[in-house]
């Protein structure tokens, strides 16, 4: 069964989320992380409350698929730049 393609804004949110998570994890606890933390929280909410999520069948497999698409999108952009 072919998976429906994800909306572009969802893929972009996911890729921004991953980037923010990575940055915050690399920085570690301490001062100067407030902006990053707020950003991660906002992106997480956007990600989980996205209307596309309400579609039945968007379970665990869809989540992994979305992450992979976001990653490949990132890789393509990095290649183009």
């Amino acid at each position: 069964m072919e998976q429906q393609p994800f909306p572009l804004d969802l893929i972009q949110t996911q890729s921004a989320w991953s980037a923010t998570y990575r940055t915050l994890a690399a920085v570690g606890p301490g001062a100067g992380t407030v902006t990053l933390r707020r950003r991660l929280l906002r992106l997480s909410t956007q990600l989980w409350r996205h209307p596309y999520r309400a579609v039945p069948g968007s379970g665990s497999a869809a989540r992994i698929e979305l992450r992979e698409q976001a990653r490949s999108e990132d890789a393509r952009e990095a290649g183009a730049a």
Partner: protein, 329 residues
């Protein structure tokens, strides 16, 4: 479906400090009351009963836990989610870049475990792995395909447990526990210290302070550990279990001198001392106190509450052992 087991195995980075770990456990306690700490850097959460509360599936819940852990404690955790302890622990070591691996059903568990190397199985050490590899059992799938009698002949009685785990079976339940509490006092010398008399005075002062604190909190210590920081930047740690949990200055002092004698410093230049009372439990739990037949000891125990009361009224160091007064020496 009710009563389904959903175990999350949460794994911190190896460099996580004790304070962060404690905060992480508090955070996990908000997800589900069934949290079992696996110190120093892991924890198990039985989230089976909490899914309805959070109205989500285990994979999404684990993702949320991961984000919350990063937001609140600043630590990046990896979470394996499965229906048994062993599988979840194996999964948390193989989460990949996503940080969460959820194995929702039995086929998924089997497909995940089968291609892994034999040493990845929870509970297989280097020796057992070598032994199994010697017989050509290189993957968990290969082990799972063997009959029980064969595996037991190869590695003994442990084989049965390992074979079950290779099939994704693990009967161990998550038991809600609290992290064993500790309390510590430390002393830093202004200059590197060589003088044994002054060192003993500092140690005595530490142990008296610690014992007083335990009695004030109505706790007893199960073990005592001493950490000595040396001039070179290195440090030496030694822990000793007490014969019986205690909060009497006498018992702690005896244990401390044993530790100190065992360290046998000769010309070490010492920069700082930290004394920690470990395995704290509240006084009055556990078996009763053994009657002491030593009148001197009984007398000292009887005078302790009096000394505590005097110190509480007139300041912390009103009454101390003579040896603890550094200036007098």
């Amino acid at each position: 479906m009710t009563g389904r087991s959903v175990i999350m195995h949460v794994r911190c980075r190896p460099d996580t400090d004790a304070d962060t770990y404690r905060r992480l456990l508090d955070l996990l306690g908000e997800v589900s009351p069934l949290v079992q700490p696996l110190p120093p850097g892991a924890a198990l959460v039985q989230a089976g009963g909490a899914l309805r509360l959070h109205r989500t599936d285990p994979g999404a819940l684990a993702q949320r836990v991961r984000v919350r852990a990063l937001l609140h404690t600043g630590t990046d955790v990896r979470i394996g989610v499965a229906d048994t302890w062993a599988t979840a622990a194996t999964a948390s070591a193989h989460t990949g870049p996503d940080g969460v691996l959820w194995l929702p059903d039995e086929p998924a568990v089997r497909a995940f475990l089968a291609p892994l190397g034999i040493e990845e199985l929870h509970g297989v050490g280097t020796k057992t792995a070598q032994e199994l590899r010697r017989y050509g059992l290189h993957t968990i799938g290969a082990l799972a395909a063997q009959p029980e009698s064969v595996v037991c002949r190869l590695i003994g009685r442990q084989g049965r447990v390992l074979l079950q785990r290779a099939h994704g079976i693990d009967p161990r339940a998550v038991v809600a526990r609290r992290l064993p509490e500790t309390s510590s006092v430390s002393h830093r010398f202004e200059r590197d210290m060589l003088d044994p008399v002054l060192l003993r005075a500092a140690l005595l002062d530490l142990v008296v302070t610690l014992a007083e604190r335990l009695r004030a909190r109505e706790q007893v210590a199960g073990a005592l550990s001493l950490s000595v920081r040396l001039a070179g930047g290195g440090s030496v740690d030694k822990t000793r279990r007490l014969p019986a949990p205690s909060h009497h200055t006498d018992d702690l002092r005896t244990a401390l001198w044993r530790i100190w004698d065992a360290l046998a410093f000769q010309r070490a230049r010492i920069r700082g001392l930290t004394l920690t009372a470990e395995d704290l439990t509240s006084d009055g739990t556990g078996p009763g106190t053994q009657l002491s037949l030593d009148p001197a000891r009984e007398a000292r125990h009887r005078v302790e509450p009096v000394l505590d009361a005097i110190n509480a009224k007139y300041g912390r160091a009103a009454v101390r052992p003579a040896g603890a007064y550094r200036e007098a020496g």
